[in-house]
Each structure stands twice: as structure tokens, then as C-alpha cells.
Symmetry: C2
Subunit: 107 residues, 2 copies
């Protein structure tokens, strides 16, 4: 175990990378929700349903392939997408509800 | 509604952005798991516990702040981090189990 950094030092180094990646993930997620909020507003305007199973099937297949290419567990990538889509649909439903009752805050 | 793109066109445009962001998210997640697998190997080598509640508390506080700065729901950011940490701990436990029984595959 000579020349091996002590665990706190090596751990600290890896954790700095993880913290940078997490900042990037948060920024990407924020931008993704900006897009999906715009999608939600469009869907509400054109009375389209919040969920779109055909699109979701395509997204899942694509993400699984991207995950495989990046040596990420495809099952985890699918769970991750479902986790996000669940939140997106919650937003879309809220937007649709708001636009359906614009006077709800003025009784 | 003049000068407003028809919904399929505007939707397509937003979905192209979402697909690009998803590719970036998958790449970032793959890199994050590369880091956390290295952390897991270090922890197994030095017999450190898979979970680290003090580190997780710090990460959650930091992510919530980053989320607020990016106008992302901090509660969602926290749920997201917990979702990932859950997967990471699963990996660490598997690594610890493997290194505890190196001959398990050779009966």
C-alpha cells in the first residue's frame, strides 16, 4: 500500500469531482424543467393531454441506448427518466389546472 | 394566435432541446457513477461504512442552495439526490460484499 494516497485525501479528491458533477446535473435539470414547463404551457393551450405514452416509449428506448454507450446501467437510466417524467407530469397537471380555472384565486 | 407556431412544430423544437439535455444528463450520471464506484472501492479497502450521513447532509444543503439559485424546486433537487444516493449505496454494498468474499465465484 505504498504510494497509495490515504483514504481521506483520495476520498476528498473524488468528492470534489462529484460535487462539480452535481452542480452540472442541477443546472441541466433546471434547464430541462424550463423546457418541459414550456411544453406544459403549450399542451394546456392546445388542450393536449399531460402524458404522452408514445413519446415516453421513444425516450426510454433512446436513454437506455445512451446509457449502454456510456457504461451506465440502462435499468437505472430508465428509473431515472421515469422519476423525472413523474415530476414533469405533476407540473403539467398543475399548469392545466391553473389555465382551466384562471379566476380561481379571485373568488 | 397569429405568429404562434403550430403546436407540433413548437413541441418538436422543445423536445429536441429536452433530448439534448437528457443525453448530457446520462453522460454526467455515468461520470458520477465512475467517481462513486471509485469511492466505493476505497471505502471497501479501508473498511469504511457505505453510507456517510454527515457528507449526505452537506450534499443536500449544497444541492438545495444550487437548486434555488437555478430556480429549480429545492425539494425536487433533494429527492433527486436521495434517488441517486440510494443507488450509490446499493453499489457500495455490492462492492463491499465482493471484496469481503473474493472467492465466492470459485466454489
Amino acid at each position: 500500500m505504498t504510494n497509495q494516497p490515504c483514504p481521506p485525501e483520495a476520498l476528498q479528491d473524488l468528492r470534489r469531482s462529484i460535487d462539480n458533477i452535481d452542480a452540472a446535473l442541477v443546472a441541466m435539470l433546471a434547464e430541462r424543467f424550463r423546457c418541459t414547463k414550456a411544453v406544459g404551457a403549450l399542451k394546456a393551450l392546445y388542450k393536449l393531454p399531460p402524458a404522452d405514452p408514445a413519446r415516453e416509449t421513444q425516450q426510454i428506448a433512446r436513454l437506455r441506448q445512451l446509457a449502454e454507450d456510456a457504461h451506465l446501467d440502462p435499468d437505472f437510466a430508465e428509473k431515472f427518466l421515469n422519476f423525472i417524467i413523474h415530476e414533469v407530469i405533476r407540473h403539467h397537471e398543475a399548469i392545466a389546472l391553473e389555465s382551466a380555472s384562471p379566476a380561481s384565486s379571485t373568488p
